[in-house]
Symmetry: C2
């Protein structure tokens, strides 16, 4: 027996594949043997601390077999495949062909009876009795009918001869996460910009008062950039100027001052008590608070004095600041993960995660993980999740694809992506194909962001509210997880520092902003609606069943999302042209034969679509809507 | 360091990849590390009983690296990849960027000097002295020039710090075969049809007199269907009739009679001495004799009496004959490879191979290997090749693709393919794409046959000489190995037993045929010419560098073959329409900028083709030629 090309299998079992509650784990493999005999196979699996169970595996095409199991709890699940040459099935199949040809089958019936008797010796008493009766029937009158009985097949399936069966060399592993690992809507907010009072910066308490707004928009994760004390040395001024004035507040990513480091709250934002209160209050409102985990220090960080050995030194004795020559980041010291004292350093860095978990945090956005060792992440994530199961890590690694993939494989729950720069239809299609199909969909969960504090694309700068709306709908419907950096996003404040570059003018990274909360932001209505649709439509909360739909107009980008368990499919048709009305034909999203109704969940419009193989006509005007988000209904009777 | 997606790697190293003399082994891998430091990597390899050597590995694109080594002898070769973070290259790269930005680099030059000094401590005396001088230069005047010196880079490359390097978990293996494993032209012939005298059947001596003809056609393998004694029981008559008359000669695949079994020569064909003489004579003329290895017995085979335990029995005590219900093959008993006495059986079956190797045979065509255990083949092939290195096994497995692939992986040298049934352009393209690219080209060597004694396609039945000519040119130019079943092929004797079925009328499988040797067969001239082209053009004797060429006419099928080492590329354009003239445009086969000449090696016609990006016009009339076989020349000055 050969069992190969198993899916999901990552690097020969080196890493666990990703699964989540509410999603069956679909297993496939090539299974075959030499010779012409028929083969049987089962999928074996077990949840954490459970017994092995079995599910059927069925041949699909060309020796490819498929089956699935439905995890019932989070945690590591093992699966295995057991396959064997099935002499009974072979006998049954050949007997049928002999009977059709009108051959004398007396000898074959006796051979069958012997197989059934052998099975009876493997079976417990009750089944054994039945099997012996079946064997007798194969020797009596009506033997042909007995040979064709469903009961016989069931009994023989239950007591198949597996003495020469083959399994995988070792079981494979799927890490099953809670549903929120698979699907989430993130909102990013600088606490110091959250003040309702333009005379003072915002605090954690101000953030707490913003929670109802965030919730009203429909987000379920609120991500705060670092909230730790900010260093003074080489502090950056407004708009990333090199020399700060005394009134400049500095970048939150320059972590650490005499007021404390990674386990402290910046005094201007509040206290640890405020923070715990914010976490609790958010959770009560259905929002998880996400912390920034940024492993770097300002020169004023307590670690620098206490543990100079944790940093790299230059030949002149000074500590090496961060550099990407010729650029220098003198306000930041990276850690030396290969320092002689690396064990103590790694333990301390892990203790930061555990400290904030203790304060109630279960979600981390990790800053630039690709500049730290792979081995550290594998260890730190596993250790954190061992103590705080289900803790989520979002990798902010905008780097080469293979490095991003490696981080996802070794434990990151979700990953930022190149979505912001995938703008043409062919780019979006190619990227969706890459992310939403195996092997990538087995280990990487994309999180689509149309903007971040570092990414204001030229497309959004120039595209006005219509383009922001389009990019929002694409992010929130293509990917089960997505996020926006607000309030600039929903207010469509898109002025760059330098036209064509991706930095915001007056970026919140370097200064306090005040956002007037009185008027409804222009995109708030759309965001509210789309998040409500996501909440109501399971199809939008899964990525594995994404299917591109062909259109006859490159400006119309169409895809279908479905979910297991009979949820309605959702077909999205977006107009990639934020300026002009576009019209065209869309390939049938479903194989329904007759007509059926599709409902645009954005405006409740109903269209009657013609069944396959007909294509359907769509016209989208950007002054009205960036897209149709269509729930596909049942056939019209 | 991460090293993954290595090629060639079969099932995690479970099987050796295939290589051959005259072809570099091209190795690729994804190689990357966390962080921004530059990486270096080398390809390590060793031939049988040799020391490890190193070749460069270079980045290609997107963290993919490539390199190659050139095996100098046949046998198992190991290779490994060693990669490390290269602090010197990183220093050099960053220094350059600092210098470009006009920064003060005093501290960096000192850091570089320390790196060079460290290298001097790893180097042998002479290089160590030079490195110390280089370190001093980095501290002196002209330090910048010293930092940029090629000599420094060479020395540092030679003595890089590999103390933290990463290798593959275990080296991978490539089995390097002699060139004839990669490229061969087979001619199949029934000895009993080789008689020049219509009054008697042919013998091995008659075959010997046919050798000059086979050689004149340009073939280098002569394959004989089984030459063992043929059984009498249930012997098949002419045209596969169930009851034979006393004059019927039987199928050579019903092996064994009172005259002997798999180690005997059928008395009507001659003696063992005749056979040894034939093998020697063929080899002198540049032809290898291929034996048929067909593991089955007629009921009259000596094994049946001597070892009834080697066969499966039915409940009534009779031996199970071969069946594919409802079809019965009562003239053949398959072996029971899982018999209690399997060790003795397997040893005996291996001894057949060793016996014929002793008589000088080094090439086997294996009949239906997919109906015998995979494990048997892996063992028997390895054992035979251990005693008789370079012995070739051609797998005649027309079965499901994955089973064919498994046989190739576990040791078969070459494999029959579906070529005969790939007839439309899209089918040929898809199949070429599958066979000639990784992973398949790393383990399977296709052997294309337009016909066999069992395969007379409807296309050839109906297509006349022009279709046979077309299929011949496709087989002989697309694939480095191919074969024909003659003399029916070159004589275009294509009458089927039943129109539309693939059996020949008056098949040589069941009766003696006499082929009049007087007249030149209609296809002989073309065959002679194409085999001469194959001999002169290395490009046609490699499969790894096959490239499909686009045309604007689906009836024109075009591809390019190239070979390593500067051989001329050969561009083939075939007219798949054997009835009508077809014309159209062919995409540029090479990236030559200006014009260049292509020479049709079939008729010496010269065409001046325009350089890329121009397409070139082709017109092919089937009454003149089935194809252009164009040697691509150098640019016209």
């Amino acid at each position: 027996m050969v069992i190969e090309n198993v899916r999901p299998e990552l690097d020969g079992g080196r890493f666990a594949a990703k699964g989540s509650l509410g999603e069956p784990v679909q297993v496939e493999a090539d299974i075959f043997a030499d010779g012409h005999d028929l083969v049987s196979a089962v999928l074996r699996w077990r949840g954490p601390d459970q017994e092995w169970r079995e599910e059927p595996l069925k041949p699909v095409v060309n020796d490819r077999w498929a089956g699935e199991f439905e995890p019932r709890q989070a945690g590591l699940h093992d699966f295995d495949i057991e396959a064997w040459v099935d002499h009974f099935l072979t006998w049954e199949h050949e007997l049928e062909r002999r009977l059709e040809a009108g051959q004398n089958v007396a000898v074959e019936l006796e051979a069958g009876a012997l197989l059934v008797e052998a099975a009876s010796r493997r079976a417990p008493t009750r089944d054994a009795q039945q099997l012996r009766r079946q064997a007798a029937a194969l020797r009596g009158r009506g033997a042909t009918r007995a040979a064709r009985s469903l009961r016989l097949r069931q009994l023989m399936g239950r007591h198949a001869d597996r003495s020469l069966s083959t399994c995988l060399e070792r079981p494979l592993t799927v890490k099953v996460d809670p549903e929120r690992a698979r699907s989430s809507a993130w909102y990013e907010l600088f606490p110091r910009s959250a003040s309702p009072d333009t005379k003072r910066p915002g605090t954690l308490r101000d953030v707490e008062t913003r929670l109802p707004y965030v919730r009203s928009l429909g987000f379920d994760v609120l991500y705060l950039p670092p909230i730790h004390p900010i260093g003074h040395s080489f502090r950056k001024g407004r708009n990333n100027t090199v020399s700060a004035t005394p009134s400049d507040v500095g970048s939150p990513w320059a972590i650490g001052s005499e007021a404390g480091g990674h386990k402290s709250i910046a005094p201007e934002l509040g206290t640890l008590k405020d923070f715990r209160q914010l976490v609790r209050s958010a959770r009560r409102q259905g929002i998880e608070l996400a912390m920034d985990y940024a492993l770097q220090c300002s020169p004023d960080h307590p670690y620098v004095k206490e543990h100079p050995e944790w940093f790299r030194h230059r030949p002149d004795g000074s500590i090496r600041y961060a550099e990407n020559p010729p650029k220098k980041y003198q306000d930041i010291y990276p850690f030396d993960f290969e320092s002689e004292d690396w064990r103590e350093l790694w333990d301390e860095l892990l203790s930061i995660l555990l400290f904030w978990c203790e304060q109630g945090v279960r979600t981390y956005r990790v800053d630039n993980p690709h500049t730290k060792p792979f081995a550290f992440w594998e260890w730190a994530i596993a250790r954190t999740q061992a103590e705080y199961p289900g803790t989520i890590f979002l990798a902010e690694a905008f780097t080469r694809p293979k490095v991003m993939y490696e981080l996802a494989k070794l434990g990151f729950t979700q990953s930022y992506t190149y979505f912001a720069w995938r703008q043409q239809a062919w780019e979006l299609k190619q990227y969706a194909q890459e992310l939403f199909t195996p092997p990538v969909c087995d280990f990487l969960r994309p999180n689509f962001w149309p903007n971040t504090p570092d990414i204001l694309t030229e497309q959004i700068q120039k595209g006005g509210p219509r383009m922001s709306a389009l990019r929002f709908v694409l992010a929130a419907t293509m990917s089960a997880s997505y996020g926006i950096f607000g309030p600039s996003f929903e207010r469509v404040e898109v002025t760059p520092l330098v036209p064509g570059k991706e930095e915001y003018l007056d970026s919140e990274k370097y200064q306090v902003r005040h956002w007037d909360g009185a008027a409804e932001p222009p995109l708030a209505g759309l965001i509210r609606k789309v998040n409500a649709i996501r909440a109501a439509q399971p199809a939008l909360r899964h990525d594995r069943w994404y299917r591109q739909l062909a259109t006859d107009n490159e400006m119309l980008f169409a895809f279908l999302k479905t979910a297991p368990g009979g949820a309605a499919p959702v077909c999205v048709v977006a107009n990639l042209d934020a300026e002009n009305t576009q019209r065209g034909w869309i390939e049938p999203p479903v194989a329904i034969d007759g007509d059926y109704d599709v409902v645009d969940l954005l405006n409740d419009a109903v269209y009657r679509w013609r069944g396959a193989p007909n294509w359907n006509f769509v016209e989208l005007s950007p002054s009205v809507t960036p897209a149709h988000v269509l729930r596909v209904g049942a056939p019209v009777p």
